[in-house]
């Protein structure tokens, strides 16, 4: 019984150890990936089967010597643009990119007008 208990503690220790082992590079990349089957979570946050496999895959790709950009490209080709939290500029997302700029300029004009009136 005592031996079993000790073994359990050792096992627990190793488990924690292996959890801490997951590389920071994987964390960094998976934080930028959307978990496609869970709503509003990144791959990093999720514990779903999909996300767990994805993390293993990212680690494998890093071990193969792929850099961040190559991994994102690879996943985009498989799952489409939606998987990355970084929308490309295209005709669907142009409003998203341009709107803040328009608002900024518009606000600036408002402020200048107000100041110059005074």
């Amino acid at each position: 019984m005592k031996i079993l208990f000790r073994l359990l503690i050792i096992l627990l220790f190793f488990q924690n150890y292996s959890l801490a082992e997951t590389s920071q590079e994987v964390d960094k990349i998976s934080k930028n990936l959307r978990c496609l089957i869970c709503q509003g979570q990144s791959v990093y946050d999720s514990q779903s089967d999909f996300a767990l496999s994805m993390k293993i895959l990212i680690q494998n790709k890093i071990d193969e010597g792929k850099n961040d950009e190559q991994i994102y490209e690879y996943l985009k080709a498989k799952y489409g643009e939606w998987i990355v939290y970084d929308p490309e500029v295209n005709k669907n997302t142009i409003l998203l990119w341009v709107l803040p700029l328009i608002l900024f300029v518009f606000g600036g004009i408002l402020i200048i007008r107000k100041v110059s009136i005074k």
């Binding site: 496609l36 089957i37 709503q39 089967d49 999909f50 767990l52 496999s53 994805m54 293993i56 895959l57 494998n60 985009k76 080709a77 498989k78 799952y79 489409g80 939606w82």
Partner: protein
């Protein structure tokens, strides 16, 4: 005058937001990917379910006709529902069906097949779920119709097969 402009712009902005949100209501929030690339790199190794040997997926695809790749697991309930369709497709003898056993216990997988029948020409295992990502899979079950010659995905079926997708496969095979 400037009061009018303010009022008009507020009304316009409200209307604008209203219509955007209204349009958003019709949009389904189920995501299905627009795949840019239909070709899959089949050049990876996986272990057979019924032996210890490893094989390249490339070698499982013939040089002509179409193949069906089905991702399944014994723990997946919808897989049980679609199994009859797969058995049916097998009896047509028109295409080879390659099973990918997703994150499964091998014993349970074999049990599942002896219980419900084995529609697969070949079965490979995917204990970590990373081979399935190569196909752009989300989970189980998923089915892909693949053109053997060009090695392109002709059609993706996400979720269990049903009458509609079954008819589609039959149509594409013939």
């Amino acid at each position: 005058m400037s009061k009018n402009i303010k009022l008009i712009s507020i009304v316009l902005f409200t209307l604008f937001s209203f219509f955007i949100l209204l349009k958003g209501l019709d949009k389904s929030n189920i995501y299905s990917p627009e795949i840019k690339e239909n070709n899959v790199n089949f050049n990876f190794k996986a272990k057979y379910l019924f032996s210890e040997e490893e094989v390249f997926i490339n070698e499982l695809l013939n040089n002509e006709g179409v193949s069906l790749i089905n991702i399944w697991a014994s723990w997946c309930l919808p897989c049980r529902d679609e199994h009859a369709y797969l058995l049916n497709l097998k009896s047509l003898n028109k295409l080879s069906i390659i099973g990918i056993n997703y994150k499964d216990d091998e014993k349970n997988a074999k049990q599942f097949l002896s219980e419900l029948g084995n529609p697969y020409t070949n079965i490979i295992t995917d204990p970590k779920g990373i081979n399935s990502i190569e196909f752009g899979a989300f989970g189980v079950p998923e089915t892909y119709l693949i053109d053997n010659k060009s090695k392109l995905i002709i059609q993706k079926f996400i979720g269990p097969l049903d009458d509609k997708s079954f008819a589609k496969i039959i149509n594409l095979v013939q």
